[in-house]
Symmetry: C2
Subunit: 281 residues, 2 copies
Amino acid sequence: MAAAEIQDLSRCAVHTQTNKPWTLAQCCDHYARAGLGGVSIWRDVVDPELGGVGLDEAVRIVRGSGLAVPAYVRGGFFPGLEPAERQQAIDQNRSILDEAAALKAAQVVLVVGAIPGLPLVEARKQVAGGISACLPHAESVGVKLSIEPLHPMYAADKSCVNRMAEARAICAALAHPMLGIAVDVYHVWWDPELAAEIQSAGQENRLFGFHLCDWRADTRHLLTDRGLMGEGCIDIRAIRGLMEQAGFNGYHEVEIFSQAYWDQDQEKYLGRITESYQQFA
Amino acid sequence: MAAAEIQDLSRCAVHTQTNKPWTLAQCCDHYARAGLGGVSIWRDVVDPELGGVGLDEAVRIVRGSGLAVPAYVRGGFFPGLEPAERQQAIDQNRSILDEAAALKAAQVVLVVGAIPGLPLVEARKQVAGGISACLPHAESVGVKLSIEPLHPMYAADKSCVNRMAEARAICAALAHPMLGIAVDVYHVWWDPELAAEIQSAGQENRLFGFHLCDWRADTRHLLTDRGLMGEGCIDIRAIRGLMEQAGFNGYHEVEIFSQAYWDQDQEKYLGRITESYQQFA
C-alpha cells in the first residue's frame, strides 16, 4: 500500500546541519517562513564550544520561531577503552538530555559510537550499558532517547549498531518506554529485512524518528555526499508507507550532509528541499 | 579459538587487481618468485577488450608460472531492466565460465549486480534466476560459482546481495553443489551475525572463497581506498579462525583496491603484502 501524497509541510522538519552555513536563528527564521513544522537542532549551533550561540539564546530563538523540535542531535559515543572514558560519555549524554529538555526537544538521537580495534561485540555491550545508565535521567527530564542505526560503512568509528535488528535488540534488552529508534532512510534502505523490522519496531512502540535524504548511486564521499530526496535510489515514499503502517505519525526530518549543497545559496536550496520533500517523500 | 600463525605463503594468493599496474605476466612472475601459492585473475588482464593479453596467452602465462588459480574475477551483474539484457548477462557469464575453465580457475566470483531504481527485492529475484541459468554450464565445465556478498555501500549499483545471510538463502534456494560463497572480510566484517553465518555456510559446504584486505577507519573513497592487512580495524585472524573452524581450507586471496598503493613501486608493495599477510592473516 503506497503512502498518500503529502499535501503540506506541517510534518516536515529540517535538521540545522542540512543548512550548515546558516546560524540557528537563520535556520529557524527560514524554516518558519517556509511553513515547516519543525527544526531538528544540532548541538553545533547551540554549544559555544562548537561555535553555537549558547543554550539560553538557542532556547529564546527556537521558542520565538514557534517550530516544534523533533530531535536534538546528537548524543551517544558510549564506547571507551577505559571506564573513565565511558563514565565521561554517560555524563555528557546526561548534559545533552538537559539541553534537549530546555529546547523542548522530543528526543536525543544517539549515534552510539565505535572505536577502531575495539571488537564490535564489546562495543555493543558498552553501548547498552551507557544507554541504560542514561535512561533514568531521560525519564526525569522527559526527553526520549533514540538509537539511530548507522550504515555499516560507519561501523569502524561511529556506530557499532548498523541495522534496525540490532537497535531493536538493545531496546528489548533495556525494556524502557523512553528508548526507541530513529530510522534514517540513508542508513537502512538496503536492508532486506527493513519492512519486517519497521513493522516489529512499530508494534513495540519504538519508532521515535524518521530521517529523510537520498543515496546517490555514485556517492563520492562517505560523509558529505548525501542526496536530496529524488536524487538517489531510495524509494522514500515506500519507506514512509511502511512507517505509517507501523503506526508512526511523527515528523519527517530532512537531514542531508552535502558539501555540494552547503556550497550553494541556502535559501534557494531550502526551496528545492521543500519541493523534493513534497514530490518524493 | 584463535587461528594458528601462518608459517608460509603456500595458501596465499593475490588478485591481479591488487597489483593493477602490472600485466598478468608480471603478476605471475613476481607471485611465483615470492613463493605464493596462487594468483586470482581479473578479466581485465585477460580480455583484450579490457586491455588484457587474450585468453590463449593468459593460459600460457599462468600454466608456465605453476601457480594455482583460486578464482577468476568477475562474473555476475545479472539484473537488467529488459529480458534481453538479462539474457545477455547470462550468456556473458557462460563465456566467463569458459575462460575460467581454460585458466583452470576453481571458481568464478559473482558480483551479482544491482540497478539504481530497480527495487532490491526484484533485483534479488533476477540474480537468483541468472545464477540458476548458469549452473548447468558451470557444472559442465567444472568451475564453481561463488556469490560474493558486497558491503551495503555497494547496494545501489553493484550488488543487491549484501550479507552472508542473503547469499546463503540464494544457495539454499538453488540447492546446487557448484554454488557457494566468497567471503571477503572487507564486505562482511561489521555483520553481527558473521560468526554464525560462516558456521552455517560451512555446514552447508558453501565456503568457496576467502578474500583479505582491511577496512581503514578513515576510508577516503568507496572503491579505491582499501587497506593492507593490519592497517584497519578488521580482526582478520579471528575471521580466518572462523573460516577454518567451519571447514574452509582453500586459499587466502589478497584483494586490495588502493589508488595509494597502485601509485607505489609494486615490487616493494608485494613485499609489504606478504609481510602483512603473515603478521595479520
